[in-house]
């Protein structure tokens, strides 16, 4: 069934982020947005998952004072921990 994607305008409004910040996250590889070509309507698209990720990035930057390099390391480690937790959960069930 249909998947929902948001335009960058909506994402920026809801998360109170500037376009430049979102683009910066993309440039350093902290966020990969769905590109566009196949959808044939202009602009990049952000899924609900992207929005959750952006919210987390923004929060960690604000609350923990992390810079982009720190965010990259933190996100990578957190993803590893989450993946390990899932594996443990699967193993235990």
């Amino acid at each position: 069934m249909a998947e929902i994607y948001y335009r960058i305008e909506t994402v920026c409004e809801v998360l109170e982020l500037s376009r430049a910040q979102v683009r910066r996250y993309e440039q350093v590889g902290l966020l990969v947005s769905v590109d566009d070509g196949e959808r044939r309507t202009a602009g990049r698209r952000y899924s609900e998952e992207d929005v959750r990720r952006l919210r987390r990035l923004r929060r960690m930057q604000r609350d923990l004072g992390l810079n982009l390099a720190g965010l990259e390391v933190a996100m990578h480690l957190l993803e590893q921990i989450e993946a390990l937790r899932r594996r443990l959960g699967e193993g235990g069930s």
């Binding site: 069934m1 249909a2 998947e3 994607y5 109170e16 929005v51």
Partner: protein, 333 residues
């Protein structure tokens, strides 16, 4: 109500600088932040306290009132908002001993984190301490008090298949509101929807403020291309493979429509490759008038036979001979 010493919570002195407070908050946040302690209830509770303390002490005005009035600084804010003119000191003297109970509901809100963050971090539980639970009010309740404002419009993109666009599907999806609550929306996409159409769902946008109406939700529809059907406005185009003998002698082929039904299409004798046959009303429904529809253009693709037997080759040779078409060398058996 339990009074919390925010300075003690952050572990800073009463005269700590703004920088020292931020630094203390961040140091504690690194340890207790729910993002780095997923699922740890203890860390979550501790972070709530830290965040609340930081929220007050990082704002010079709130901090000043907190220093003067302690637990009752928010009551004073409310008192000023309702037109009171006494200084904090006068307020403190006048209400001495009388204000230990629940004060009026305050208009301030938790500003350091947005409501989405709070929901994201703590789920449905209130992120406020018992002490401030009734003073802070529910999140978002106190934003700009008097003027009703229409909520903002939301735009979301939705991708559907061409079959869906033909049928007019209903799509179900979940939107996360600014308040953090997830809302499931079921929307009927009109039949004949086009790539780039904007479907307006009135009143499904962000909630209004101060009793204002909610905004609208616009679904921007992208229609994925189909592997067989090509869309040209409300008309559809499809290729139909037809074998050589049917092309030459006439007959019937079956064409599957986008609706899923099979239509028998008459192929007149001596139909040329690439001939287009028009089937009226078998195209896409008109967006404005779905009871009418465009046409389906069936393009004949003649399939030339392969793996001929010796007998079939001889028959083709005889055909060529009878038509007076010279055969190239080695062209016939």
């Amino acid at each position: 109500m339990e009074f919390r010493d925010y300075y003690a919570t952050l572990g800073v002195k009463k005269d700590a600088s703004h920088k020292a407070i931020r630094s203390a908050f961040r140091k504690l946040a690194r340890e207790h932040h729910p993002d780095v302690n997923p699922g740890n209830k203890e860390a979550e509770a501790r972070f709530k306290e830290i965040n609340e303390a930081h929220d007050v002490l990082s704002d010079p005005e709130k901090r000043k009132l907190y220093d003067q009035l302690g637990a009752r600084w928010r009551e004073y804010e409310q008192y000023r908002a309702s037109g009171g003119t006494a200084t904090p000191a006068e307020f403190a003297r006048a209400t001495e001993g009388a204000a230990a109970g629940a004060g009026p509901r305050a208009s301030s809100r938790y500003t350091n984190a947005t409501e989405d963050d709070l929901h994201d971090l703590f789920g449905q539980e209130s992120p406020y301490s018992d002490f401030f639970g009734d003073l802070f009010g529910s999140a978002g309740g106190g934003r700009g008090r008097s003027v009703p404002l229409k909520g903002s419009d939301i735009e979301a993109a939705v991708t559907v298949s061409l079959e869906d666009a033909f049928r007019g599907p209903s799509v179900t999806f979940t939107l996360t509101e600014p308040s953090g609550t997830a809302r499931t929306i079921e929307a009927a996409i009109p039949r004949g929807v086009r790539d780039g159409s904007r479907v307006r769902l009135a009143g499904q946008g962000n909630p209004g403020r101060n009793g204002g109406p909610p905004g609208d939700l616009y679904l921007v529809v992208a229609v994925n291309p189909h592997e067989r059907f090509r869309r040209e406005g409300d008309n559809l185009r499809v290729e139909a493979p037809v074998n050589l003998t049917t092309c030459m002698l006439g007959g019937e082929v079956h064409v599957r429509t986008l609706k899923g039904s099979r239509l028998a299409v008459r192929i007149p004798p001596e139909t040329q490759n690439g001939t287009v046959i028009r089937l009226r009303g078998q195209g896409m429904p008109h967006l404005k008038n779905p009871s009418a529809a465009g046409d389906l253009f069936v393009e004949v693709r003649a399939i030339l036979p392969t793996h001929l037997t010796a007998e079939q080759r001889a028959l083709f040779a005889r055909l060529a001979e009878s038509r007076g078409e010279p055969l190239a060398e080695g062209g016939a058996a």
